[in-house]
């Protein structure tokens, strides 16, 4: 199983095994990682699963999905080039070791 590391705004790191095909948001929510809410369940409606993909990984996570930028505009914390909605990143073997940083606030 690919693993993914969440770095909270205060620096706390949590590494989890993700189910192949599960999103970075789902993986966090299922395991009670604070800092990601994912309130709309991945429908791109709430902007509460904002994350910053670590520089080393942006090439592999690829471009934002259609409509993702519109929702990132609704995020509570500043949006940068590294910003993604974590519900739109699906875990594959290719992303084994992925690191995402979490914003100060999601709501």
């Amino acid at each position: 199983m690919p693993h993914v590391t969440y770095v909270a705004a205060d620096g706390t790191r949590t590494t989890l095994d993700a189910a192949e095909g599960a999103s970075v948001m789902e993986t966090a929510v299922r395991n009670d990682v604070g800092g990601i809410i994912g309130e709309c369940g991945g429908a791109m409606m709430c902007a509460t699963c904002h994350c910053y993909v670590d520089d080393a990984w942006t090439a592999r996570t690829g471009p934002r999905k259609d409509g993702e930028m519109d929702l990132l505009d609704c995020a509570a914390s500043p949006v940068t080039d590294a910003s993604r909605l974590s519900c739109q990143i699906r875990m594959t073997q290719d992303l084994d070791g992925l690191v995402v940083h979490l914003p100060e606030a999601q709501v």
Partner: protein, 393 residues
């Protein structure tokens, strides 16, 4: 082999649900989490996981239910009852006006001023009905501005909202509720005609202006329908949320003290809307035969996701029946989930959570609820206190 239909209940009444649904939901979660309730004509889903599954699976569960009285009440087919790309286009047309950045930069300063003015107006001696005299009017004022119809009075906004809600809930198809919503529609249409002219001439950050002045605008009829759905769905909930949370904090002084000490007003907001969800239930229509917990939901059947019940589900919450701000986890379903997740969640969180609660308890540090038993709670679809007799000083 096909699964059997869900068991049917003929004992639960709408009156019971209206007065206090929570003991019923607790029993159903344990005994019959999928249940056809005859009095409501819907299949109740009372477990959190089922409610979330249905809302997160629009391919199987449609929001479009042609048999509801919503269309005559709103004189329109609104985004709340649409699916897919059509829903998305209408929803995203309004989104820029409701996003945190806009709220923070454009509206928050104005809303602080309104909140302060409305609190100044409250009589400081004797008993004040905070629900009627503050929660309702301030919710109306906040909404009128962000929607782009500041010329509407608090009374108008509240009447229109009630009229739309009563019309949309008029499952008995009686004439009076539709007469009332027709009157409201005529008044809203007249006001919107003028407001549309105004935002065309002087664009601002309001929802109306953003939709009217978009590069590729949605049809005017849908712009008007969007504003109406926001009027119908944007006053009661923040109003009821505020009253519910104030009740929760005043009846739990130890929690209030801790919230104050930590400045945890946002956490109190989340717990209040978990404890008593302002929108308690939503309907979805099955597009295919689906099985839930061994029960067949036949195609065409309408299920009700009871988020009020899911929010107290023993599988997720210890002692979910009580108000407990600092509970270890709280992923309530009060803003819904899936494509129809509340479009106003940022507005509600930032106005009720970040502005109103803190200002109210700071301004009236000695506020008390002399007789908690005088507070009456009502509602099956929407729920909250209908009065909140407090002493401010």
């Amino acid at each position: 082999m096909t699964a059997p239909l869900a068991p049917i209940d003929e004992t639960i009444t709408i009156d019971q649900l209206h007065l206090d649904p929570y003991p019923i939901y607790r029993r159903l979660r344990a005994e019959a989490p999928v249940l056809r309730v005859k009095a409501v004509g819907r299949t109740f889903l009372t477990k959190a996981a089922d409610a979330k599954y249905v809302k997160d699976t629009p391919a199987l569960f449609s929001s479009d239910d042609p048999r509801t009285p919503m269309k005559p009440a709103f004189q329109a087919h609104t985004l709340m009852r649409k699916d897919g790309p059509e829903h998305l286009a209408e929803r995203m047309a309004m989104a820029p006006a409701l996003m945190p950045k806009t709220i923070e930069t454009v509206w928050a300063p104005l809303y602080r001023q309104f909140a302060s003015d409305y609190m100044d107006r409250l009589p400081t001696d004797g008993i004040v009905d905070l629900h009627r005299d503050l929660a309702g009017p301030i919710a109306a004022r906040i909404l009128a501005h962000i929607l782009g119809i500041p010329e509407a009075s608090d009374e108008d906004m509240q009447e229109w909202s009630e009229a739309l809600i009563h019309g949309a809930g008029n499952f008995g198809w009686r004439p009076e509720p539709f007469e009332r919503s027709d009157r409201a529609n005529a008044e809203m249409n007249a006001l919107l005609d003028r407001a549309i002219e105004r935002v065309r001439a002087e664009p601002d950050a309001s929802a109306l202006s953003v939709m009217v002045n978009a590069a590729d605008p949605i049809p005017l009829s849908q712009i008007v329908a969007n504003i109406k759905i926001a009027i119908g769905g944007g006053i009661n909930e923040p109003r009821d949320a505020l009253s519910t949370i104030v009740y929760g904090l005043l009846t739990n002084p130890d929690q209030l003290e801790e919230v104050r000490a930590r400045g945890a007003w946002g956490t109190a907001f989340e717990e209040g809307i978990r404890w008593v969800a302002p929108i308690q239930a939503s309907s979805r229509r099955a597009l295919e035969d689906v099985e839930i917990r061994g029960c067949l939901i036949p195609r065409g059947d309408t299920v009700m996701t009871i988020q009020a019940s899911g929010n107290r589900d023993e599988e997720l919450y210890e002692d979910g029946e009580t108000f407990h701000v600092f509970r270890p986890r709280n992923n309530h379903l009060s803003f819904g989930s899936g494509p129809h997740h509340c479009a106003g969640s940022h507005v509600a969180r930032r106005t009720v959570g970040k502005i109103l609660l803190e200002m109210l308890f700071t301004r009236f540090p000695a506020m008390s609820l002399p007789d908690p038993s005088a507070v009456q709670w009502r509602g099956f679809g929407f729920r909250g206190p209908i009065n909140l007799p407090v002493r401010l000083t």
